[in-house]
């Protein structure tokens, strides 16, 4: 089981769209995938039309594996389940750590509900908090969407500094360019410069696309309703690259 976090300390950069579509691409490639919506705005769940269960909303169900697994909902797509947001994720890091570090215990717990996942995708809230720090520790990779503008460049540097200060493994960071407008010179120049400074930028680039914006209307990943669009191709390519690493 690999944990891939989708994270940005700045909002509106295409983070949730990436989490939603990459989880979909992972499931399509045959990996049993769980998408966890940790962002209290609940956008990832919204795109998959998954309502959080009313009964579960007020419970601390990260307390143990069994409660957590009860919150899991099937998506409309094979191999893909979703944990919707609007929940207390106070203990999520504890849960995640347990999932990662005592795999045999986890296996037992999950066997009880006849389940296991190959990939867990986390859609993280856009801030740096204790939760995000713990997510960084337990994740195998942290995907960071970066719009190629000066402001985003600065935010990304803040994140790498945070990793250094907290002794986190910077190799986990996998930045990629998001909402890219090829016709803008500024985007091109920023991308060239950043790629030179940081070799870890993924080759896959997500374009600015009205197809992605329409996700809110379709309430589905762009990969499901506009398979052959440029945006879909870009997500597929990006997932293949990530998949090659995990």
């Amino acid at each position: 089981m690999k944990v891939v976090a989708c994270y940005s300390n700045k909002g509106g950069v295409g983070k949730t769209a990436a989490a939603v579509n990459l989880a979909f691409a992972s499931a399509r490639s045959g990996r049993r995938t769980l998408l966890c919506d940790l962002d209290p705005q609940g956008a990832a769940g919204f795109y998959y039309r998954v309502k959080p269960s009313k009964k579960l909303e007020n419970q601390e169900f990260f307390k143990d594996v069994e409660r957590f697994t009860r919150a899991i909902r099937a998506s409309d797509f094979d191999n893909l389940d979703v944990v919707p947001a609007n929940m207390s994720y106070r203990d999520f890091d504890i849960f995640l750590a347990r999932m990662k570090h005592s795999r045999s215990r986890l296996k037992k717990a999950l066997n009880a509900v006849d389940h296991d996942y190959d990939v867990i995708v986390l859609d993280c809230p856009p801030n740096i908090s204790r939760l995000s720090e713990n997510v960084f520790r337990v994740s195998d990779y942290v995907l960071v969407p970066v719009i190629p503008t000066t402001l985003s460049e600065r935010t990304f540097r803040q994140l790498t500094d945070f990793f250094e200060q907290h002794n986190l493994n910077k190799k986990k960071l996998l930045p990629f360019f998001s909402m890219v407008q090829k016709q803008k010179n500024l985007h091109k120049e920023t991308m060239d410069r950043l790629r030179k400074q940081n070799k870890r930028f993924l080759a896959g680039v997500i374009p600015f696309s009205s197809d992605i914006e329409k996700m809110g209307i379709h309430r589905a990943p762009v990969l499901s309703y506009s398979k052959s669009s440029g945006a879909s191709r870009a997500y597929r390519m990006l997932w293949r690259e990530i998949d090659g690493k995990i």
């Binding site: 039309r49 309502k51 269960s53 099937a74 893909l80 389940h115 309430r219």
Partner: protein, 512 residues
Amino acid sequence: MRSGRSEPFQFFLNHPLPMSDESLKIGDGLTLASIGNQDTMAACLDDFGNSLKRSGRILIRYQKNLLLLKVGEPEVWTQVSAPGWRFIPQMDEGPVKSRLQDCSPIRAFQAGAENAMGIKKYVVLDDNRKTTARCTLYHLDNGERSLTFGFTQPLRGYDAEHSILRRFLEKNGASALDSHANLHAQCGFDQPMYDSKPSVEITADAPAIETANHLVATSLNVARQNEQGVSRDYDTEFLHDYRVNLRKVRSVLSLFKGVYGDEDTAHLKRQFSDIMKVTNRLRDLDVYLLAKQDLFGLLPERMQPGLEQMFSIFNKERRRELKHVIKMLHSSSYQRDMAELQEKFRSTDRLAPGPKAMTASLPFATHLIWARYSKVCRIARKIDRSTPDEEIHELRIQCKKLRYLMEFFAGLFPQRMLKDLIKPLKRLQDNLGNFNDFSVQQDSLQAFLNSYANSHRSGSVVAMAESIGALIILLRQKQAEQRAQVTQSFADFDSPEIRQQFTDVFHHGTSQ
């Protein structure tokens, strides 16, 4: 993905769902919506022995898709497999294949009649139009009969919605799939069940000739059921079963001494031996070809080309031999002879009785079995390391005869007791059978090499001789290993308890 709690629901449906539109409200904000129809042709698959039907399973093929269900189990399995497969090992990997691993890998699967099949897929949507459960209906129609069955698919985290769907289906006539005989017939697969070992009912005081007739008639009948499969070359088991049953007939004729008149016995023996002779080579070749993988596994890669060539020669020869066999099976003389033979054993007055004809079956049976058992023991107890191989072969033949006798008369003795006696006998026979197989394989490889050497240039003979020579050495080792085990296998069979049982039942007749 599957839910941890809700189980899928498999059902029959007597009439269509009451849906005039594409969607229907079924409860609390939930809608049942049609998401697709497909009309196709479908056939039910099984092997000749009806392995699936016997175990309550149904395998349906439509286009490249396979659908497997087991009556009484909620799960339904589907997978895609490229067309052209006939044996389980040839099937593409998938959940259906992995659930058919108990079927024989050398029995061909055949399709029953093609049916028109309609597949309807539904989803249960909530007020966000989120899918919360799925349901698939299959409607089969062969012109005379039709049948609808289906299954639901619960989704994780949506148990309540699945329950509502299930209640809706039940309210509309869905009943759990729990009897499968009908379903097979409805799928156009209602051919009579083939049984390779039908139980033969015999009575203790019936005259021996009546019992013998009964046994022969049954075996002849089973043998003949395999003729078509042999001719069409579906798989090698048809010929195998055909020969096993003719061998049983010959065993009755030779073991039931004095039941038929001498002249009739000799004539019948010759007739059956002539029929079987035509099939001998074909069966030998089948056995070699089935062992192909094993033999390749014995040799290092550089020696394998010689084997490859040998097997391609065997394949060619097999095609010729099969033609001979088919020619015989289709000949009017064979058809006439077989029909006459069947008739002879069906009636009681067509064959001249011998001096033992009217002996009651039970004393006749105990006498034969006791005598044969004593003979087996006599030979086996003398075996030591210096005993020639011929004696081991003789022991194999005597064990085989003993086994046949015990099985012929099985109906006269308590089943449990017979099973306990046959089990160690079977292990001994397996051991002796392997010993014999390795020996026969060496001889036939040598014979093949000799004839190859006579008809080919020396260059290719050297490579072939190297491969085959290596194989013969390996087979000799394996034969020796088997031989070394014979004493132990016999000792297991020759336990004091088993000796006592044989004496009680077949010598003193005390168990009756």
